[in-house]
Amino acid sequence: MSLAEFLSGLNQLLGTGIPMAIFSVLSAVIVILLFAMPVGGFCTYLERKVAADFQERIGPNRVGPLGLLQFFADGIKMFLKEDSISKNADRWIYNFAPSLVLAGSFGAFAVIPFSAYIIGTDLDIGVFYAMALGSLVSLGVLLGAWSSDNKWSLIGGMRGAAQIVSYEIPLGLAVLSVITISGSMSMHQLVAQQAWPSPGGVGHFWNVFHNPFMFVNFFIYFTAALAECNRTPFDLPEAESELVSGFNTEFSGMRFGLYALSEFADVILFACIASAIFLGGWHVPFFDLQSLNIGLSVGELDLSPLVQSVLMIGVFLFKVAVLVFVVMWLRWTLPRLRVDQLMNLCWKYLIPISFFNLIGAAVWTWAFEGRSILQLLGQVLGVY
């Protein structure tokens, strides 16, 4: 059930006659402005705190308690800084590129399944739609770099586009293997099938542990997603040492803030998609949250789905937080790859491996009629 229907359901209770379209825009505002941007901003603070921990220093703690409002202060500072567009920059494309990049990274939040009842919009082509919007980001990066008429940003932009573009293939193949296993593209179905296997149920536990090929595919997906958001071992386009922060050399003030925000939104987006299609979204091992039943109900409205939904969102966001922490952890442990190592890794290692993994996953689902290791183990032990 999409967020918009949930809100309009609420509206029927209150009786106000607001049309459905307003609710879809409202759901967009809620997910983007109240979830993606604040959490993206908060990640900048978190990244500096985590980095400080790794290097045994304190990190930002001046603004607000424990420095929690640091990202807010950064945002205001960027908002007020001068946005100087260089003389022979190509004004039209210069202003058009950030909205392409942001549309690509924030638009895909529509299909993220936060809980069994709350999802931005349950498209039948959910995962495919998220990949389609991902390809807009590479276009925006290329145009933004090209229009700022700066040799460094042009080289950084070309490298960034080549890197994002070529890592979309292992990403696509990993998502393909998930679809081969679960037979549906809509995110809600993909997650619903990862419930804890029960005798009658359809769940076959998390896709990561479905079969050995899927386990490897998760790591391929994670590596490709790291490269897609230009994060640490692959942050060549913004390599500070070589390219003077690559494609966003010429961006100042809020324009740079928008690009940085869209980079963090990409990290969160891929963490959400990875935890939804590989780590079983809102499912918890050993227990099915949807069967949780609390007696209390207000008037005739039973409260247990609400409580279940809150718990599910908590579980889902915990998994996203773990993945984002690993991304930040990598930043301070792995050195940066050279261009040819980066491309060789993609074309000579990731793509062949994901080819064979896809074939392996298909053969596994064919041989065991889609049952996972856990289900097979359960049958051997006679549990069901």
């Binding site: 999409s2 967020l3 918009a4 459905m20 379209a21 879809s24 759901s27 967009a28 505002v29 997910v31 983007i32 402005l33 908002f79 007020l80 946005d83 100087s84 260089s86 202003n95 909205s99 924030f106 638009g107 529509a110 299909v111 931005g120 919009t121 498209l123 495919f128 700022s148 700066n150 040799k151 460094w152 042009l154 070309m158 080549a162 573009v165 070529s166 979309e168 393909l176 081969t180 296993i181 037979g183 549906s184 003077v244 050399t249 010429e250 003030g253 809020m254 928008l258 261009v339 040819d340 060789n344 074309w347 000579k348 793509i351 080819f355 896809l358 298909a362 689902t365 064919w366 889609g370």
Partner: protein, 143 residues
């Protein structure tokens, strides 16, 4: 189903109009002192000479070409592999048909990838001089 598209569209439209709105609102608060030095492109301090539209050797384009073909392959495989699970439930022969079709498709294109690999086209060698040195090192390794 159109309501679902409407929700997705409102997400994309909101995300697309965010930057112009923020940058426009900021215009009133932002200082703006266009100074000659500030407006030239950033070249670590020196005066920029020559435009940035310098040409590149063509390893970028080889990547773009090979990516295009493999991206098409993934887009075509999505609908076929979507049915794989359903075909298994229907019966063995249908499942075999879908499996053979999809993985013949995959195999043929894997041949393309192997060809690229063998002729060294996806090697990310910087330019002609390096390529010759790259090839000589391969020959030494082969001897």
């Amino acid at each position: 189903m159109l309501q679902e598209f409407g929700n997705a569209l409102s997400f994309v439209v909101l995300a697309a109009i965010l930057p112009p709105v923020i940058l426009f609102i900021g215009k009133f608060f932002r200082p703006s002192f266009p100074h000659e030095g500030k407006l030239t492109t950033y070249e670590c301090g020196e005066l920029p000479e020559g435009s940035a539209y310098v040409m590149f050797n063509n390893r970028f384009y080889l990547v773009a070409i090979v990516f295009l073909v493999f991206d098409v392959e993934i887009a075509l495989l999505f609908p076929v592999l979507l049915l794989f699970r359903e075909a298994i439930d229907i019966g063995g022969s249908v499942a075999f048909q879908v499996f053979a079709l999809a993985f013949a498709f995959l195999g043929v294109l894997f041949v393309g990838l192997v060809y690229e690999w063998k002729t060294g086209d996806i090697d990310w060698v910087r330019d002609a001089a390096d390529r010759r040195q790259h090839l000589e090192s391969q020959e030494k390794a082969a001897l």
